[in-house]
Amino acid sequence: MNESQSDELPLGTTPAFANMHKWLRRGLIVCLCALVLEGAFTFPLLAVWYGWPTLSLQEICTEFERIRFSDESRECIYPYPLFGPAEGAGQTTARDEWGVQPRPQYQAIEYRELVRRVEARRARENQ
């Protein structure tokens, strides 16, 4: 690298590492943009996948709790008492294959599946 090229290097970058620093800079910009896009779109996309705005956030919370603990009678209490016990403390309904490597028995929740669950329950109740 001649002197004029060396003069154009950023402060602190020596010619030996100029190429590496250039690629690191590009990688950093990719990470920055990706983190911003993830941060911005994760919450709304999750909300839509799990049923909002058809379901309220509290209804989604209730459905999660029922699936998690395999108990259709559970309700998401909100606001939760500040010094109350953990909401799941002492529960006995959750289903797992217990062992040194526990394996949960709930199924993955498909797109808008919680909406269908709530509607099916309402239809049963109205019969």
Binding site: L35, G39, A108, I109
Partner: protein, 232 residues
């Protein structure tokens, strides 16, 4: 400085150049700090990005005009590791102390069900609340104060071109390597808990989380930069 070519006729000119450079850097930093604060909140990040990019553009423009500015890669690393630490902190602090809020019980559950059931399986069943997956709580308690808070402090010193900022960024970024290695090993050992009944398991988690490798990108630079540019 890439274009530090001003004709400096005497100390007066040098002082003036120094004053103008500091002013331009502060002007750019005000935009970038505002942007980074929003970026660190995740949900408002989309509003923070234009502010951050404007600050970056101001810095590059000032450098091209001949002023002595902080290297762009130092700026990117400093702000990005701070944002990375802030994003990690938000999620884990929410789980650690706000696990019974509706926000946590909807969005942490949703994220858990989609990518990592460590945030779904038996959630809010431990007396301490929050994630119940083996080991998860320990990582939160260890890494929030030791890695992420310290990394944000180090990033501030690094952006100020302080030697301690450079040194502590190396330390906290290597902490990050330990954290990733240990965390992934833990997830793998308890993969049934973490990935059974998950919408996008394993590959989904990696695609989502791979962009948190910023501290790893920082390390080669931190070890290869001429450290004389950082002052006591």
């Amino acid at each position: 400085m890439s274009s530090n070519t001003l004709a400096l006729g005497g100390t007066g000119n040098l002082d003036e150049h120094h004053r103008q450079s500091r002013q331009a850097q502060w002007q750019a930093d005000k935009w970038m700090m505002s942007g980074a604060l929003l970026l660190g909140t995740a949900v408002f990040g989309i509003f923070g990005l234009p502010l951050f990019l404007r600050g970056l553009w101001l810095q590059i423009r000032a450098e091209r005009s001949g002023l002595t500015m902080r290297p762009v890669i130092v700026t990117l690393i400093g702000y990005l590791v701070a944002v990375d630490a802030a994003l990690n902190t938000i999620g884990w602090a929410l789980d650690l102390v706000a696990h019974h809020t509706l926000l946590a019980r909807v969005f942490l559950m949703a994220w858990g069900n989609m990518f990592d059931a460590g945030y779904f399986w038996h959630y809010n069943e431990l007396w301490i609340g929050g994630a119940t997956a083996p080991g998860e709580k320990s990582w939160e308690i260890a890494l929030l104060p030791i890695v992420f808070s310290m990394r944000i402090a180090a990033a501030i010193g690094f952006l100020q071109m302080k030697r301690w900022g450079h040194q502590w960024l190396i330390v906290t970024c290597w902490f990050g390597v330990v954290a990733w290695a240990g965390y992934i090993a833990n997830m793998t050992l308890y993969a049934d808990v973490r990935y059974t009944g998950v919408v996008f398991p394993v590959i989904g988690w990696w695609l989502y989380d791979i962009f948190y490798i910023t501290p790893f990108l920082a390390l080669p630079y931190l070890h290869s930069v001429n450290r004389e540019i950082f002052s006591d």
